[in-house]
């Protein structure tokens, strides 16, 4: 059914020119990391204005991750992963969906903290920030592997897969 609604697949195995997921994730990776950095600087310099910056960045990241997941799921479906890539693609999918929940919970917590209006963030929140950073970096690394090592959606890999050369 989908085939009839969308343009034919190109040599990246996509119905549009280039992969969208790596573009949308700019707004998750950059915003989360920048929010954590701003919280860190605010904690040490007591420049609490930066916490407003990190809050809005977290909001932007949280909205973006759901869009990233929709594109990611769609493009994973068209990725035709070969044997070597399947494991990492599955793990990336699992962490990606989970991360949307983690990020939503943290931003929800941040919303409450901001409403309560106390300036200093709880240490527990900063700890969660550190954990979030690790997950995001690992998830980015997995995505890097999918693109830069396994070459999913690149012309050479799509061509080899279509030729039946990549089981």
């Amino acid at each position: 059914m989908l085939e009839n609604l969308l343009p034919p697949l190109n040599d990246h195995n996509l119905p549009y020119p280039d992969t969208m997921h790596p573009i949308v994730v700019h707004f998750v990776i950059a915003m989360v990391l920048f929010a954590v950095v701003c919280d860190g600087i605010a904690f040490f310099t007591k420049n609490y204005r930066l916490q407003e910056v990190s809050w809005w960045n977290m909001v932007f990241a949280t909205v973006s991750i759901f869009i990233a997941i929709i594109f990611g799921q769609f493009e994973a479906g068209l990725a035709t992963p070969y044997a070597a890539a399947v494991g990492d693609l599955n793990l990336h999918t699992l962490i990606g969906w989970s991360l949307s929940g983690v990020l939503a919970v943290i931003t929800g917590w941040r919303y409450i903290l901001r409403l309560q209006g106390s300036k200093k963030l709880p240490v527990a929140y900063l700890g969660v920030n550190a954990m979030l950073t690790i997950i995001v970096l690992f998830q980015t690394y997995l995505g890097d592997k999918l693109v830069w090592i396994y070459g999913l959606h690149t012309e050479a890999v799509v061509e080899a897969a279509r030729g039946g050369l990549l089981p």
């Binding site: 950059a30 915003m31 793990l91 070459g151 690149t154 890999v157 089981p167």
Partner: protein, 236 residues
């Protein structure tokens, strides 16, 4: 060593192998198979930061300039918002973008220098790999200059020219910001051509072009058939 551990008690460690296989360095390709002395290119990762920070900076300044329009929306969502808070995002994100972009461009040039793209094809825009790299390199420097220029302009408006005004940012600044979005789109497409079409620094693409099945990447290090130099990709 690790291999022995895994072989002996793979039953117990089964759940961990899932994660282990994702983080274990892949020996076959370690340094060299992608033409870089490390596993994955750095430049595309820094690009996330440059683009994310810049685009969000301009977007929040835009939102702050149109504050009156979205104020009811935020009220409806029960999210307290101040105009100066939105401008703070516009300012600090732009500073972040300016700082990080020096590294983005530096990493990009390093990885251009180590690129060995195929010569026998053109991009969807009809450019050779070399031309695409030249344009992407020149564009990178121009964008760096524009981002730094925007940051300086933004600083002058924030702290001097428009310090006392409710609308901290001029429409001209936002106009240039939106123009840079368009440049970034073109520039990013050139970058996508380098990775997605020419396969620059893409391990699998390089292996396929060398006639090697990238599925050998799946063999975990502890199960590899040792040293068959024929299978090892050449470092150039």
């Amino acid at each position: 060593m690790l291999c022995e551990v895994f072989n002996m008690s793979s039953f117990v460690l089964e759940p961990f192998i899932f994660v282990q296989s994702a983080i274990a360095p892949i020996h076959v390709l370690a340094a060299g198979a992608n033409g870089l002395p490390y596993l994955v290119p750095i430049h595309p990762n820094l690009v996330h930061l440059t683009l994310g920070l810049f685009i969000v900076a301009v977007t929040f300044d835009l939102a702050a300039n149109f504050y009156a329009l979205e104020k009811p929306l935020f009220k409806f969502l029960a999210i307290p918002v101040t105009r100066s808070g939105l401008y703070d995002v516009g300012w600090y994100n732009m500073v972040g973008a300016a700082i990080i972009t020096f590294f983005t461009v530096a990493a990009g040039f390093y990885e251009i220098l180590l690129a060995a793209p195929p010569q026998d094809m053109v991009s969807p825009w009809g450019l050779s790999a070399r031309d695409t790299m030249v344009w992407h390199g020149v564009g990178g420097v121009i964008l760096l200059a524009l981002i730094v220029g925007m940051t300086v302009w933004r600083a002058l408006e924030r702290y001097f020219w428009r310090e006392d005004r409710a609308r901290q940012v001029s429409w001209k600044y936002l106009g240039l910001g939106l123009f840079i979005f368009a440049l970034m789109f073109l520039h990013g497409t050139l970058g996508a051509h380098l990775g997605g079409d020419f396969g620059v620094h893409v391990t699998a693409d390089r292996l396929i072009r060398a006639g090697i099945d990238p599925n050998q990447l799946s063999v975990p290090p502890w199960n590899q058939i040792p040293e068959d130099p024929q299978l090892l990709p050449k470092v150039d």
